[in-house]
Structures are given as C-alpha cells and as structure tokens.
C-alpha cells in the first residue's frame, strides 16, 4: 500500500519526457523516414521498370536486327548453295566438254576427194531442266544440267558421192585407228544411201546421197 501522500497537481498530458528521443519528434521523423523509404522504394521500382522496358526495347531491336541478319544470312546461304550447285554443274560440263577441233581437222585431211559433205551435225540430247536443291521453304529456281552422268554423242554426216566405193572409203577412214579415240561406231542407216540425179546445169549426172551415223565417245560428267 502506498504510504506517501502524493497530491500531484501536474496532469499527465502536461508531462514531458526527459529522453532526448522524443515521441512527438520521433513519430513525425519516423513517419517521414517511412514515407521517404516507400518513395525511394517506389522510385527504385520505377527506375527498374524503366530499365526493364529499355532493355526489352533494346532486346526487341536486337532480335529484329538478328532476324533481318538471319534472313540475309539464310538468303545468302541459299544463294551460295545455288551458286555452288551452278559451279558444280559448270565443273561437270568442264569435265564433260568434248573437243572436236583436232578430230575435224584430221577428218578434213583424210576425207576422200570424191566425197562432198553437205551437212555435219553433232546430235546431242536436248538440255534437261533439273531443279537444283533450294533452301527450305524456297522455290527452286530453274537450272540446266546433264540428265545423267554420261551422255551419248552422235555425229551425223550427210553428203554425196559419185560411187559407193568412196562411201566405203569414208567409212574406212572413220573406223580407222586414228579416229578410234573419238568415234566408236560409224554406220550408214538403212535407206540412207540412195541414188539421185543432179538437176543443176541440166547435165543429168547421177550421184549417191548418203548419211553416216557415227557414235562418238560418250561425254562423262564427273
């Protein structure tokens, strides 16, 4: 039990704290610190959001640039493939090129004097359209090239002669070892040796018109 008489004339609300940390000072300070903290936090979040948005835009731009670059690279790769294939074809043709200059010069030298050639034609198969390999999703451009690794070559000689012996002589020349490197076979197709009458000049002289079919060495595309 309280022994002392304490008649306190000071009201509780009039009491002040002796502490240097005062409630009515610290409360606003604390509130201000909290508000400042929240503001800083929001500012930090806002900055982070702005940075994230900026990074996203930069990433989008980079992706756009990369996509364009990827498209260009893809196109370039496709074009490169196409060109490589064309180069390969050119290389094939270079390998498969048949050179007849020497052959024709020899043929001219050894041609019988009684033979008059009216036509000399190399009969080759018509060029084939081959679809070259194309990049995925792309339509292949038309490309020309051989239809098979080997291609037969035929030579057709047309002419006239006054006698059949000249033709035999020509066949003998064509079948001679000198032309074996170039000509595999030389034949006169059935019905290709026929007798005709010269109507020019009104002489009425008879002669023989002939066709010789030669099978030349095959062109090899390697």
């Amino acid at each position: 039990m309280n022994k002392a008489i304490h008649l306190n004339l000071l009201r509780a609300e009039e009491r002040v704290s002796s502490s240097r940390v005062r409630l009515h000072v610290m409360a606003p300070v604390f509130a201000a610190v909290v508000v400042a903290g929240v503001a800083l936090w929001w500012a930090w979040l806002w900055t982070q959001t702005l940075m994230a948005q900026s990074q996203t835009r930069a990433a989008d731009d980079a992706i756009g640039q990369l996509q364009a670059a990827f498209k260009r690279a893809t196109d370039t790769t496709g074009r490169e493939q196409e060109l490589k294939q064309q180069l390969a074809q050119v290389e094939l043709y270079r390998h498969g090129a048949a050179r007849y200059g020497v052959f024709l010069r020899k043929l001219a030298e050894q041609m019988p004097a009684t033979i008059q050639l009216t036509a000399l034609e190399f009969v080759e198969p018509p060029p084939q359209v081959i679809a070259a390999p194309a990049p995925r999703g792309k339509k292949a451009p038309p490309s020309f090239g051989p239809s098979s690794p080997e291609e037969p070559v035929r030579l057709r000689l047309s002419g006239r002669t006054p006698d059949a012996a000249s033709l035999d002589k020509l066949l003998g020349v064509l079948r001679a070892p000198a032309f074996r490197e170039t000509i595999e076979t030389a034949t006169v197709p059935k019905g290709a040796f026929r007798q005709e009458q010269d109507a020019r000049g009104g002489s009425g002289q008879e002669f023989f018109r002939f066709d010789v079919e030669c099978t030349l060495k095959r062109r090899v595309f390697e």
């Binding site: 008489i5 004339l9 009491r15």
Partner: protein, 337 residues
C-alpha cells in the same frame, strides 16, 4: 497521440527522482535532493541548495515570463518533483466523495486542484495551487533534458511525507506524531500505519521562536544563535511559554489516535528545527511530557549512501524536508505500483 503519450508516461515508474523545493529560500535559491530506489532501498544521492533563476509568479502576467532551469549533473535524474511553498498554496481536509484511484488534478476556477483519500473516515486531502503557478512550474524543466517534471506538489502536502524518511519512524511501525517546523508555521501530523490520520497547522515556526527569544532577550535576532551556542544566556524560560501550547497539541493528538485507532503513537519526531535551537525544543518537550527525536537530513540513517553535501544554514537544512517529502511521494507511489 496524447493518450498514447500519457499512457507511456504513466507506465514508467520513476525510481530516480530529484525533489526541488521552491519558495522556502530567498529568490534564486532552490533546495534540491536526489533520491533513488534501488533493490527496494532508498538512497539519498545528493542534497544541496542550488542557485536557479526566477521566482514563483504572483499573477498571470508574471507567469508568462518563460524561465527554464538546467540542473547541475548530480541532480540530473530523469524525473523531478517540484514542491511549491507560496501563500496561494492551500492544503485542507475535506469530507467529500473519494476520487477514483487514477483521478487527475482538475482545473477549477483558475485553480489547480488535486484530491486524494487520505484519512479515515472518508476524509480527503485537497491541495490547491493557482493555475498560472502550475503552468509556470510545468515549463521550468524543458523537454529533452534531465530532469523533467513528473509531479507538482504543494509544500504542506510534501512535508507530510518527510517523516517516512526517518529511521525512527520506520522503527515505530509508522505510528508516530511528527512536528514539522517551518519558518512561519508548524505542522503537527499524527500517523497510523504510516498514513497521516491527523493534521494540525500551528502559526508558530522557527522565525516566530527566534523573534520571541530575541525580543525577550532584547537582542538582534542575528545574534541569537551565537549567544545560545556560547551559552551566554538561558533562553528556556522564554521558550517554554512559546512552545508549550504546541506540545500540548501533541498530547491531544496522541489521545485522539489512541481512542480512534486503539493504538497510541509511541514515537515523537521533530523536523526542521535549526541545530542551535533543537536542544531547547527537546528540553521543553521533555518537560511537558513529550519525548521527541530530532531528525536531520544529513543524518538520515535510512538512506544507504548519504553522499549529500550538508546545507550551509539551518534555514537551508529545513528547506530540504519539503524536497525530500516531494521526492518520496513520487518514489513511494512508484514502488506501490
């Protein structure tokens, strides 16, 4: 906010209080004691008369003058009990509805009033001080500096607690009669179980006695102390007729307590009498059949460490009692919580 602050302050139980007594000494001087409760034991850490500016205002106009105090380091405890002795201060017994335990002081007609159930049967003690004086006192000790005011008391009420500091009072079980002598008056208080059950105020104090002796001896009051100490005169024949009415009141008080509470006070205590007059008071008391024991602040054996500086004069020593009473009121209330 204000409620939270009030609750926060109420929760704090002061264990370290400085008591400041204003109005007992000439203007600019304040009696100060610092008391502490540690481990259930009270200590008087310091006691002195401090020079502090300002005097209790006498009206609203003078109360507007702001005065702030800064106490020397030995008195910088967290809490201060301000004890005011002014002619406007009133302490009286009333028979009224007992206030609630936590009732606060009320402002009534420009006066600040505090009421407490003090004495049976249903008698309340009512202390009143002008509102402007309370407001002036409440602003004396600024916030954020030690100490700040936790209590404002009138001197008469604070003095009722002074005997609680006496070891003789404690040994008597709190049933005693105390004479608390001030300059112009003397409080006669009878205690039953440490609670005051009777309060009488006599218009006789140290100055009255000194004046009576000086005029009887035909000397200046200032010379009285040296003459008594040098035993040049025997003032007892002059003192006895002055003090006898007061001591007869002691007998009446003892009879009242004995009849009312069936246990008579066996201990008589004397407070506030200057050292050169104290033997005369005790002799007169003995001749009138009242055994009194003088208690001086510097010799309070109940305080474990009386590191207090002894006051310079008897007047200053007497002024320490209201300061002690004021501080004790706060400490006892805190220990009661």
């Amino acid at each position: 906010m204000a409620k939270a602050k009030t609750a926060l302050l109420k929760r704090r139980t002061p264990t370290d209080v400085v008591g400041l007594a204003l109005g007992h000494l000439p203007e600019g001087k304040v009696a100060a004691v610092r008391m502490q409760t540690k481990g259930g034991k009270r200590e008087l850490l310091a006691a002195a008369v401090i020079d502090l500016p300002g005097a209790l205002p006498s009206d609203w106009e003078s109360a507007r003058k702001a005065v702030t105090w800064s106490l020397p380091p030995p008195f910088q405890s967290p809490n201060a009990a301000l004890v005011a002795a002014t002619p406007e201060a009133v302490l009286r017994l009333t028979q009224r509805q007992a206030p609630a335990a936590d009732a606060q002081a009320q402002a009534v007609n420009g006066q600040r009033q505090a009421v407490k159930l003090a004495m049976p049967p249903d008698l309340c003690l009512e202390a009143t001080l002008p509102e402007y004086q309370v407001l002036w006192l409440s602003r004396l000790l600024p916030e954020g500096h030690q100490p700040t005011a936790c209590s404002i008391q009138v001197a008469q009420a604070a003095l009722l607690n002074a005997p609680l500091a006496s070891p003789e009072f404690e040994r008597a079980g709190g049933t005693a009669v105390a004479l608390i002598v001030e300059a112009q008056r003397t409080l006669l208080v009878a205690y039953q179980n440490s609670r005051p059950v009777l309060v009488r105020e006599q218009a006789l104090g140290n100055e009255t006695v000194t004046q009576a002796l000086a005029s009887g001896l035909g000397i200046e009051p200032a010379l009285l102390q040296s003459m008594i100490e040098e035993q040049l005169v025997d003032p007892l024949p002059l003192l006895e007729p002055v003090l006898q009415p007061l001591f007869r009141q002691i007998g009446l008080a003892v009879d009242y307590v004995a009849q009312r509470f069936e246990s008579a006070p066996t201990c008589g205590l004397l407070f506030g009498v200057p050292a050169h007059l104290a033997p005369l008071w005790l002799t007169v008391a003995e001749r009138t059949g009242s055994a009194l024991t003088l208690t001086a602040p510097a010799a309070l054996a109940g305080f474990a460490k009386p590191r207090a500086a002894a006051p310079a004069t008897a007047e200053e020593e007497a002024a320490l009692w209201p300061a002690i009473g004021g501080a004790l009121a706060v400490l006892e209330e805190a220990s009661d919580e």
